[in-house]
């Protein structure tokens, strides 16, 4: 990191991010605090909340992006989760879906399991890792205003892009309903791929 970014707050930035979404973009939020704060920012039909499968937010988001190349797709993932799946960054870089954005919330701890330190809380720089994987359009976000500005720009110019954000150690502020089938069904309805349409009328 050339310049130390400001320590920001995940719930605050998630709200700012959601406010930028004007084109029914899909958002896939990783297990734990990433999806708790997405839910707390106000449910949208195009939100997918992961209740398990730690580390798979980026692959799931990439799958959505490949299936619907005209829709913007955003993956929200924590540092602990992405550290579990660093290989997926190289897959994203090699396939290069232009409609995919990855946001990494990096607090340097496994907040939800008792604040144990992650590798990014040590010497690992997730933006350097992403660039090394071939995601050349990877950046540390310096502050809230620049987060919003970068987000505006990438929604226009396309990706794949990775934005990493240094956040504080606050827990998520919401609690997602724990019904995977319901979450999947509502997400597909939001993407226009559900086959239960007539039952929802």
């Amino acid at each position: 990191m050339s310049q130390h970014p400001k320590i920001m707050n995940r719930a605050d930035l998630t709200k700012r991010l959601v406010a930028k979404l004007k084109r029914d973009e899909a958002v896939v939020a990783g297990i734990g605090n990433a999806n708790f704060d997405l839910y707390a920012a106000g449910h949208r039909p195009q939100n997918f909340y992961m209740l398990g499968s730690m580390g798979l937010a980026c692959p799931i988001a990439m799958g959505v992006a490949l299936a619907q190349p005209e829709r913007g797709v955003i993956a929200l993932e924590g540092d602990g989760s992405i550290l579990m799946s660093l290989g997926c960054l190289s897959t994203i870089a090699n396939v290069g879906p232009r409609n995919l954005t990855v946001v990494i919330w990096d607090n340097g701890i496994y907040q939800i399991t008792g604040k144990q330190r992650t590798a990014t809380g040590g010497v690992t720089d997730i933006v350097a890792v992403a660039r090394g994987a071939g995601l050349t359009n990877s950046h540390w976000v310096q502050d809230e205003a620049r987060f919003e500005k970068m987000f505006d720009r990438l929604l226009d110019e396309g990706g794949p892009v990775l934005l990493a954000v240094k956040i504080d150690d606050k827990p998520g502020v919401g609690q997602t309903p724990r019904d995977p089938a319901l979450i999947r069904n509502r997400f597909m309805k939001g993407l226009g791929t559900s086959r239960g349409g007539e039952l929802d009328a």
Partner: protein, 175 residues
């Protein structure tokens, strides 16, 4: 028709386009087939659970897909199946080339292979061991349709009886 061509035809007949795979010797003709045919969208994943995530996302986005892996790769995906695709009712289609049996030389492959069917059974995932070309197209075609309509994963296990097994294995067993 070679077993691999018949298998890919069954995928096409069922609109299965995204192929997320981790390479394997026995899968080589399938991977070559999907990478040389513009109908398919092949993605080489770094791990098998990544491939499960990719295909799950694509399904929710309206595109059918399949995960291709080896027996040892299946051992990496129990959590993705148990905490993503099965409870979410996502019909993940999988094809697994079977190592660890009928001429295995690697003790690790032999051991990990023994975990595969018990894990599939524990999760209630339908699985079919494909042993001969004559019945394979019917099994694959009907089982993909069943997976999609019942929103449940399905696994096809490629037996050495169908594929001839790992070519590298034959040389090792001779010595």
């Amino acid at each position: 028709m070679a077993w691999s061509d018949a298998f890919l035809k069954a995928l096409k007949d069922n609109d299965v386009r995204l192929v997320a795979y981790v390479p394997d010797n026995v899968l080589t003709p399938l991977i070559a087939g999907v990478t040389s045919d513009n109908y398919f969208m092949p993605v080489c994943a770094t791990r098998e659970d990544e491939a499960i995530g990719l295909v799950a996302g694509a399904w929710m986005g309206g595109m059918k897909g399949i995960v291709m892996m080896q027996t040892s790769g299946f051992a990496l995906i129990a959590n993705a199946l148990a905490s993503l695709t099965v409870p979410s009712q996502i019909p993940t289609i999988m094809v697994i080339s079977e190592r660890g049996t009928m001429g295995e030389f690697n003790i690790g492959q032999q051991l990990v292979a023994r975990t595969m069917r018990p894990v599939l059974d524990a999760l209630g995932i339908a699985h079919h061991t494909l042993t001969e070309e004559s019945t394979m197209p019917f099994i694959v075609d009907r089982s993909i349709k069943q997976a999609v309509t019942t929103q449940a994963p399905v696994a096809f296990i490629l037996s050495p009886l169908l594929t001839g097994g790992n070519p590298a294995g034959h040389a090792k067993l001779k010595s």
